[in-house]
Point group: C2
Chain length 646, copies 2
């Protein structure tokens, strides 16, 4: 800085330059901090209490008169005050000033003092007063919103100088590595991409609130420091001053929202922070946000309609076409046709069941009871270009198939002179002739086949279906396979229970408060795995973005289900008591907002739509949390660290 | 239940009664669960996507056609479906049905089947279909909103039977003890008082959001799992899978919101969950909610105006008169005139400084440098009735005075023949004559005097001022002392530092990120306790309901302040780096919403405006959290409990 001390006064605390006083008058620091440009504007913004007059109030309560993005040809001649980041300077004469709302060119008069411009680090914070002038015709930049004009600077102030050598350049989003972006999140946020994501998040969440409040839902804040929930995900624990006693951080407000229903707060919502300790898993976060909804005297149909209407309203301002009804598919149909309980229906390619044909085969050893065989044919005519099967994609598929040990997997390209004959030696000639009759396969198609344990065979084919289409799109650059836009889908009729493969016990497919379909009540004792739940998942482009259920409201039924699940009723006595105290039938849903927003905003991961995400290991890259705490704190909470050197 | 099995069919799971089928046709359970009354209505509620038609949509997405509160004389003849709680029955013929929106009388036709009415426990959930009929003239109840009509029941269904002997009666709010109310919060919420509190909370928070979103503030969710903040309140810790490493639960989003400013999210707000482990303290909660706001390129004046406008808008719908500007008072004036940094200015009674007179006294021993003497005179004429000074209130005052060991306290009633003569022997005749001249005291007034160490003397008088006025109002029933309504006040010009009396070190009066008043920068080295902060507190009726400051944006100044505070700069390196990366001048505020709402809603404690508060010890009365966790969980987090039997 030394070389500037001759032509500018430099205050250590205010970082305040005054250029040659004949040209640029300096501000008095205290004046500029005590005078509020907006006091005057505030009054006009509130004509009378309670009614907000529609003006551009993004500048209210600040010292700027305009943002860097809003000035146009029609403002020429106006005196303005602008604040922002020094994005760029050139010729020691022009500065490109940036804020969250745009960019504008500043023109400095041609005097000696301006020599400092090229010494000011990019990203420094500056404030200027000046006049809006038209650019010379040859300088007009049609690609810039403010490209018709520039600001002839009269006063200039350095508000906060940036250091040189920031970790990455705010002009090159693509070049910044994600780990560095997360560590210097306050730099990363200056990229237009992050600005858009976080501003859209705010907007869409507010649209959701508007819809719900308008529909008489009540926003209720429920605690996050709670008691461990039996079963389910690993919950973080919080030691307390009571020796040996811990809170658990809630994984959802499930129990509270049911208590609200018993409490006659019959239409509840909350944009709720939830916690889950899933260890190191990509694209999961230890804390996440869900839109949590519950209402009384309702049923499945009502809730699905509510969410369809909610999303229509939320997205209508920014997305061209949102269907007012989403298709519905049973869990069984989803697995049968798509090999997934969250099928991506943005393309049609369905699995084809050939179980009845192939199970006659004498060649494949003993046929198990739960045998299934599924075919997936990618017809090259449908997909505009030759569907190829390179070694690399075949290997990727084989890698996937290894996760399904009870299913066998075959893949090949149907050559003109071969057809399906390759399959004959596997299954026998008669079986393959039957197959040819039922599923005429065009030459040059690519064929996938999985057979074995039915659940595994179709799940494997579900994975192959996605992997191969991703390959066609991303590696081969084929377009038009997936339909553009948002493919919402309801998956319904989930089973109430599933088998814990480790010990053969029953566990909840959703959670223990989910109501069985009342038609299936007689099966609870005789064949519990056949009992359907009144549960539903919302799927968007093949991702689960929400789920919910009608809840059990009968205390006796709740006790019976806890018994079947082997859950100690004592840990949920408060819920059983609550159901028996006059609790309406009720149900609800939770939408995972991070995932939903990531898809809506075309983001690569949920981290792109969160202000301060943690790494996949759960570390905070900004502050380096988690970190060690003092002995004193550990003593306060009656705990000791063990295995510290692990 | 056995005695009913003859005249009704009883399904164990559906709790579903069918009365005599000639009179009341029963529903089929599955029909009633699968048919959505509201599907039709939903369509009309959304004429086109994005625009909500104004209809009464509190019944959308439910099986009811109307709430229990909305039917009137003009609905006579309509077929309706109502759901709710059985509040009361009489004559085995009438049921009073209650929901969150009101009450309505059901009339059952006179047949044998209805004998069961008097056997149904209060608070059971029932559903009826019927016709709105006019009550006979003599039965009209003008005190009930639906008192002109009743419902002639055609179909009836018991949706969920309540058990007998609930812990308290929903008809008698005053009789329910708070501990029981908290334990059975789902019953407590059925009281109109709790319904009002929680519904108003939702409404007022939404008004705040509307105002802020309209003013281009962005709602950003910041993490709660973070790193310990040096200094400040005790933070809860959360063990992780990294041995010896802990998150801390944030006590406020302070650091994150400053990073957002550096990140060009220049207008931020959040209704944020915060955590503080303050042990057992009455009227505090381990988790609480604040409205958190921060903006760039602003100053003190702008932020105070912003909050005034925000509260005007928020409250304008429900409170008659909210001033558009709140008075401002310096910290020094607040202490000097009211003996408090959060003065209750809803009544005028001010302290009177008589230091200069009494410090001349030869009778009271050596006069310290920081001597102060304050008088408080309660003139009985001003307060409409004789201000008395009973033994009990005198004792209460003496109890308070014991907390201020460096101040002496005198209280007496000014008798007609005595006047101030009592004071002569304490201070000397000349001093008291001077006192008489400057402060003419009416007979029958009550006089309080404190002298000694100035800060203690005036704080003591501040406490006495409140205690005595509470006594006049609550014990003597004097009205008109406090002005009705909301007395907002800004307290400004706080000191930047205060002395840690334990070790004589400096500590932040607010927090280490608070900017000094730039006029006082030269004092930072020479006389740091004299440096004023650019900080402000919002006070409502004598309660601190918010506070904030302009923050330090210069990294060098921030380092200097951390040095003065003796805080290790390493723990806040990310903040210093952030300030040096191009960070705008910025400031903000946080409003404590629980306290603010408790005052606005006239609630006795913040627990009355929270859905599920914890006890003052931090226990959850519903689930009995905190509780023990498994060895397995402790091992996962590499901790061990010590002193378990404390």
């Amino acid at each position: 800085m030394n070389k500037f001390t001759t032509n500018l006064r430099y205050f250590i605390f205010s970082r305040f330059y005054i250029l040659d006083k004949h040209v640029l008058r300096g501000f008095n620091v205290n004046q500029s901090f005590s005078h509020c440009y907006s006091t005057r504007k505030n009054v006009s913004a509130m004509d009378k209490v309670g009614s907000i007059k529609r003006i551009n109030n993004v500048n209210l309560y600040t010292k700027r008169s305009h943002t860097c993005g809003e000035l146009r040809r029609e403002n020429v001649g106006q005196k303005v005050t602008l604040c922002g980041w020094l994005k760029y300077q050139r010729m020691n004469k022009f500065i490109l000033l940036r804020d969250s709302y745009g960019e504008i060119q500043l023109l400095f008069p041609d005097i000696g003092g301006q020599q400092i411009l090229d010494q000011m680090p990019f990203e420094s914070i500056i404030e200027v007063e000046g006049t809006v002038v038209l650019r010379p015709e040859c300088m007009i930049n049609k690609n810039q919103q403010t490209g018709d004009i520039e600001i002839e600077v009269e006063h200039f102030k350095m508000l906060n100088e940036a250091r040189d050598n920031l970790p990455f350049n705010i002009r090159e989003f693509q070049k910044a590595k994600e780990m560095l972006r997360m560590q210097y999140r306050y730099l990363d946020m200056r990229f237009p991409e992050m600005q858009k994501n976080l501003r859209m998040r705010s907007k869409l969440l507010m649209r959701m609130r508007e819809f719900l409040i308008h529909n008489h839902f009540i926003d209720v804040e429920t605690p996050t420091l709670f008691k461990a929930t039996p079963g389910g995900a690993q919950e973080f624990i919080v030691p307390t001053r009571f020796p040996g006693k811990f809170y658990s951080l809630v994984q959802s407000p499930q129990q509270f929202k049911q208590m609200l229903m018993a409490g006659a707060l019959d239409r509840y919502f909350q944009i709720a922070r939830c916690y889950r300790d899933e260890g190191a898993r990509s694209d999961r976060q230890p804390e996440f946000t869900q839109l949590d909804i519950e209402l009384s005297f309702t049923d499945v149909e009502c809730i699905l309609t509510l969410i369809e209407n909610l999303l229509s309203y939320t997205l209508s301002d920014d997305y061209a076409t949102i269907p007012t009804h989403f298709p519905r598919m049973s869990y069984e149909d989803a697995l049968e046709n798509y090999g997934s309980d969250k099928p991506d229906i943005s393309f049609d390619l369905k699995l084809q069941n050939c179980t009845d044909i192939l199970k006659k085969s004498q060649h494949i050893g003993p046929i198990p009871d739960d045998f299934g065989a599924y075919l997936l044919v990618v017809d090259q005519k449908q997909h505009q270009a030759k569907a190829t099967l390179t070694k690399s994609i075949k290997d990727a598929h084989l890698q996937i198939s290894k996760q399904y040990q009870s299913a066998k997997f075959i893949q090949f390209k149907v050559l003109p002179n071969e057809g399906l004959s390759k399959l004959e030696k596997v299954f026998g000639t008669r079986e393959i002739n039957d197959l040819r009759k039922r599923f005429p396969v065009e030459e040059d198609s690519v064929l996938f086949l999985a057979y074995g344990e039915k659940h595994e065979a179709r799940q494997l084919m579900g994975k192959i279906r996605l992997e191969y289409v991703n390959y066609l799109e991303n590696k081969l650059g084929l377009s038009g396979i997936r339909r553009k836009g948002l493919s919402f889908l309801w998956v319904i009729d989930f089973p109430l229970f599933e088998l814990n493969f480790e010990d053969g016990s029953l566990q909840s497919a959703h959670h223990p408060f989910t109501s069985p379909n009342l038609e299936d009540l007689p099966l609870l004792d005789s064949d519990p795995l056949k009992v359907r739940a009144l549960a539903y998942d919302l799927v968007l482009n093949g991702n689960e973005v929400g789920g919910g259920s009608i809840r059990v409201h009968d205390p006796h039924l709740q006790e019976k289900i806890l018994d079947l699940l082997g859950i100690d009723k004592g840990t949920l006595q408060h819920i059983i008591d609550m159901l028996g105290s006059g609790c309406p039938p009720h149900g609800g849903i939770a939408l995972g907002l991070d995932r939903l927003l990531a898809i809506l905003l075309n983001a690569e991961s949920i981290r792109e739509v969160m202000a301060f995400p943690k790494t996949f290991e759960g570390r905070d890259p900004v502050s380096q949390a988690p970190s060690e705490v003092s002995e004193e704190t550990l003593n306060l909470y009656h705990i000791k660290v063990v295995n510290k050197d692990l």
